[in-house]
């Protein structure tokens, strides 16, 4: 490969200066002239009939401009199954349910107005686990479906079932089999910037949303539907994203509060801002899906995997977001992590009176991998294999097709496992363990690892996985690049700038990325599935190539040198044989603009990767590149307190190519710590549908004092479909943390933790039970 100027370099982010000086404008910092402040009244009950709402006192409060309830608004069905609406009517089904909303001239008055709204509820019996929800006599959460047909039970009409090979044959060929149950719970994204929006109509009722969405172009569609429900046909909707204080999947659905802002703005004729408090963020922002998983897995006498059978029950909560489709990604590790010929997977979802859940970094993969990789250690032990050797023995390899018809091209899984093994000092640990040398008083050391597979080359979740891009040059050689990508902190805009400078042949400082505005930027399907660097940089390669050709054609005319003999590099153009005769790009551009029969130099491209939607059997090459990785940890378990300390955390990722190693390491450090929190401390505790710890004192995010000594290991396999060989990295880093830690705890003290988070209380309880059994 030719020497690269920008790709692969540790170049700081282009938004770093604005962010480090406090100049970056988040939704929290945004105001519009004449803006009103919206506030939402939530249900205190997890399940209740709304008998009556009296808003007269709230309406009478000076400074209040509008009070609305579910009775005042048109029907605006929301969510993946259209079973939700902005303000609930007749009934509430969880404590996050929006019952009424106000708009007032300041936030204090809005808050006071909420207190003046009187709601008469008739509490109803609720269901708070998916098993309860599916019991024959369970109270119905939705009496009718979105089309008004009566419902018989709380089961979602959405069953995910995947069959690959012949499960019975797989079982028959198994010498060793294990079967186990695992569970995961509610966790919150905890974006440091809380959610917010400003909805603003112009006099023709065109709508502008100052937003934090990860899907501006799909959100446009949802907002347009809401406008139609308000009788506003075919209005323009502009989505202008602000600097976003964290995403992690929490902004992949359009949410009730956004529509409430639209309704209040429509009712008042003023811009209306809704800004969540932290308490609201915990309450009203949907969580990660809790799962109950039963897994069985076998291998033959030679240690080759024979089958994997997984059944899951998901707590859907009271409404259905895109999160209900996470089983489509849970399938990825279940069918295709390691070579396993016979696979069965079935997931069902049940409505409950809990919070509903949504996309969250990994989109179900962490929940599934927790079960798969914990089970891998169980099976290795059953069959008498070393966990590392067992994984290497079954590892995926380049250029193979998995049972779910994923076409794996580049694959560095083996190298990831080997480098984690070496980074941990696995063999030395085995020797110490054999002599009991891993034990000091009550403290025992153990090691464990877990691998991952994830989409790394886009994911055809929708019919398109496309990304539009435009480029235009000004008189001075400055390039504006228009992209539909959303910057949620991951650095995608900065990576894109590097790739554009590289492929067009410009100085980095000549490239400016224009983003976050649907009026300016071409369509993109969304910032999800770790797709943005892969997709937008591929779009940049296509668009940049076109632009470069146009530039060189013009330069050829002007300089009298054939275009194919010209080079454009670092914003200068020169004949390859005579670099000393270079002219600035800006000069060529001005001549193009001012010449008789002049021209403008612009280009556009639409990149839609060659991947496939899952077919009726849920098979197909969902992504045109696959990301692999392996995390390994050494833990120290205190058998007196149940505390787990992480002494060494090796995180190897096959990323194809590192477009910017500094950003890449940032993704790995951050995701591994997020994954460790998921493993050990994080749980949004719900009791009978009520949130017990919706604040940062009681919801245990890891702090700087909870040292997780992560060593990122970057494995480069140069994927043939990737831009400069790169694959996605946004989500993979938080996928294997929990099973790696669970396996290390087992290695240290011989107890298998099956439920997340693996708190000291749970670990101590398991240790005591083990002691009891031994006695």
């Amino acid at each position: 490969m030719a020497e690269l100027n920008y790709v692969g370099k540790r170049i700081p982010r282009c938004d770093a200066q604005a962010k480090v000086t406090g100049r970056a404008v988040y939704i929290n910092d945004r105001k519009r002239p004449g803006m009103l402040y919206g506030a939402i009244l939530y249900s205190p009950h997890p399940h209740a009939r709304i008998r009556h709402i009296d808003v007269s006192k709230a309406r009478a409060l000076p400074g209040v401009r509008a009070v609305i309830t579910g009775e005042d608004i048109p029907d605006i069905p929301l969510g993946f199954m259209k079973d939700n609406r902005p303000l609930k009517k007749g009934k509430v089904r969880s404590v996050r349910d929006e019952v009424a909303a106000v708009a007032a001239i300041d936030p204090d008055i809005a808050a006071e107005a909420l207190e003046l709204i009187e709601v008469d509820y008739e509490p109803l019996p609720g269901v708070f686990t998916p098993e309860e929800a599916l019991a024959p006599d369970a109270p119905l959460i939705h009496e009718v479906d979105p089309k008004g047909r009566p419902r018989k039970d709380n089961r979602l009409p959405l069953v995910w079932e995947l069959k690959c090979g012949d499960l019975e044959e797989g079982k028959a060929r198994s010498r060793y089999t294990i079967r186990e149950r695992f569970s995961t719970t509610f966790v919150s994204h905890c974006c440091l910037g809380t959610s917010g929006v400003i909805a603003e109509f112009d006099l023709e009722h065109n709508l502008t949303m100052y937003s934090v969405t990860q899907i501006p172009f799909l959100a446009q569609n949802d907002y347009r539907a809401a406008l139609e429900a308000l009788g506003l046909k075919d209005r323009r909707v502009r989505v202008v994203c602000q600097t976003i204080g964290g995403g992690f999947g929490s902004k992949l659905d359009t949410h009730c509060y956004e529509f409430i802002a639209i309704l209040l703005a429509f009712a008042t004729g003023k811009p209306v801002k809704i800004q969540f408090s932290r308490e609201e963020e915990f309450r009203a922002q949907p969580t990660r899906q809790p799962t109950l998983t039963e897994i069985a897995m076998g291998c033959d006498a030679e240690g080759r995997l024979t089958f994997r059978e997984v059944r899951m029950l998901l707590d859907n909560g009271a409404y259905t977001s895109w999160g209900a489709t996470t089983p489509s990604v849970m399938m990825v590790p279940i069918s295709s992590l390691y070579r396993v010929p016979h696979v069965y997977y079935r997931a069902e979802l049940a409505y409950t009176n809990n919070l509903y859940s949504q996309a969250f970094r990994g989109y179900g993969n962490p929940q599934a991998t927790f079960a798969v990789e914990s089970a891998m250690d169980l099976l290795a032990a059953e069959a008498g294999w070393d966990p590392v050797e067992f994984r290497l023995h079954n590892a995926n390899q380049p250029n193979e097709v998995t049972p779910q018809k994923f076409h794996i091209t580049s694959c560095g899984l083996k190298e990831c496992i080997e480098r984690v093994r070496d980074g941990l000092g696995w063999e030395e640990h085995q020797r110490r363990k054999a002599t009991g040398d891993n034990r000091r008083g009550s403290k025992v050391r153990g090691m464990g690892l877990a691998s991952l597979i994830h989409v790394g080359g886009g994911a055809r979740v929708y019919r398109s996985d496309g990304h539009g891009m435009m480029m235009k040059l000004d008189d001075f050689g400055k390039l504006s690049v228009f992209t539909g990508a959303v910057e949620i902190g991951q650095g995608t805009i900065s990576t894109l700038r590097q790739v554009v400078a590289e492929c067009v042949g410009l100085r980095l400082e000549d490239v400016h990325i224009v983003f976050h505005d649907t009026d300016l930027c071409p369509w993109d399907v969304g910032t999800h599935a770790s797709r943005q660097a892969f997709i937008s940089c591929n779009a940049a390669l296509a668009c940049g190539r076109k632009l470069r050709e146009k530039i060189l054609e013009r330069a050829a005319e002007q300089l009298g040198v054939p275009a194919e003999e010209l080079e454009l590099k670092e914003s200068r153009i020169y004949p390859r044989s005579k670099p000393e005769e270079s002219v600035p790009l800006a000069k060529v551009l001005r001549r193009a603009h001012f010449a008789p029969r002049g021209t403008i130099l612009m280009a556009e491209a639409f990149y839609d990767p060659p991947n496939q939607m899952l077919d009726k059997e849920l098979k197909g090459n969902l992504s045109c590149a696959w990301a692999f990785g392996c995390h390994g940890v050494e833990v120290e378990v205190d058998t007196e307190t149940g505390q787990v300390r992480i002494l060494n955390y090796q995180a190897a990722h096959d990323v194809g190519t590192a477009l910017n190693p500094m950003f890449l390491e940032g993704q790995i450090y951050g995701a591994a710590v997020m994954g460790t929190g998921y493993a050990l401390t994080e749980e949004l505790v719900l009791k009978e549908g009520q949130i017990l710890n919706g604040n940062f004192t009681d919801y245990k995010l890891l702090t700087a004092k909870d040292v997780v000594p992560v060593t990122p290991i970057i494995v480069e396999t140069h994927d043939p479909a990737g831009p400069y060989g790169a694959k996605g990295i946004g989500e993979p880093g938080c996928v294997p943390s929990a099973p790696a830690i669970a396996n290390a705890i087992y290695d240290a003290v011989g107890v298998r933790l099956r439920d997340l988070p693996m708190t000291p209380e749970r670990l101590l309880k398991a240790l005591r039970e083990k002691e009891k059994q031994a006695a």
Partner: protein
């Protein structure tokens, strides 16, 4: 009933009329248009609103605005030079990848500055203690800790 207070804000003497229930964060954001300090929780749990008052890093969301009468208040907006030259802590955050979504960044930088003003060569443990009250969901803290170490070395080198 509003009261008038006088204090030094980023090196300039200022005065303001403040209501007793308003926090320093509200004062900075609503009256001085200084939006660098963020509200991440409003109850002193996340540190996104950290500013320095008389040399100490404080949660501006918890401190009643009246309390800063006569005090010296430093915010993120006061760190970079008017010509755009970043403070060495800011520069280290930029250079070492310590910023992702950036929402925690101003508070994180101010906690780091309060530390380095008092303790020019802190241990890693002391750095981690100083930013323990500043939550970050993106970075996992490692690059932030490295940036603060780097800034400490650079600041020492310039003295």
């Amino acid at each position: 009933m509003k009261e008038t207070i006088h204090f030094v804000l980023n090196g300039l003497e200022v005065s303001a009329e403040v209501a007793p229930h308003h926090s320093l964060l509200t004062l900075l954001r609503e009256q001085f248009d200084l939006y660098g300090a963020k509200e991440g929780c409003g109850v002193g749990e996340c540190g996104a609103c950290t500013v320095i008052v008389d040399g100490l890093a404080v949660n501006a969301c918890l401190l009643p605005a009246l309390e800063v009468d006569g005090a010296r208040v430093e915010t993120i907006e006061g760190l970079a030079a008017p010509d755009g030259t970043l403070h060495p802590i800011q520069q280290a955050f930029v250079d070492l990848g310590a910023i992702q979504c950036g929402f925690c960044t101003p508070g994180m930088v101010m906690s780091a500055k309060a530390l380095l003003d008092h303790n020019p060569s802190p241990s890693e443990e002391e750095i981690r203690t100083a930013i323990e009250g500043n939550l970050c969901r993106c970075t996992g803290y490692h690059q932030i800790v490295e940036a603060i170490k780097h800034a400490a070395r650079n600041l020492q080198g310039t003295e």
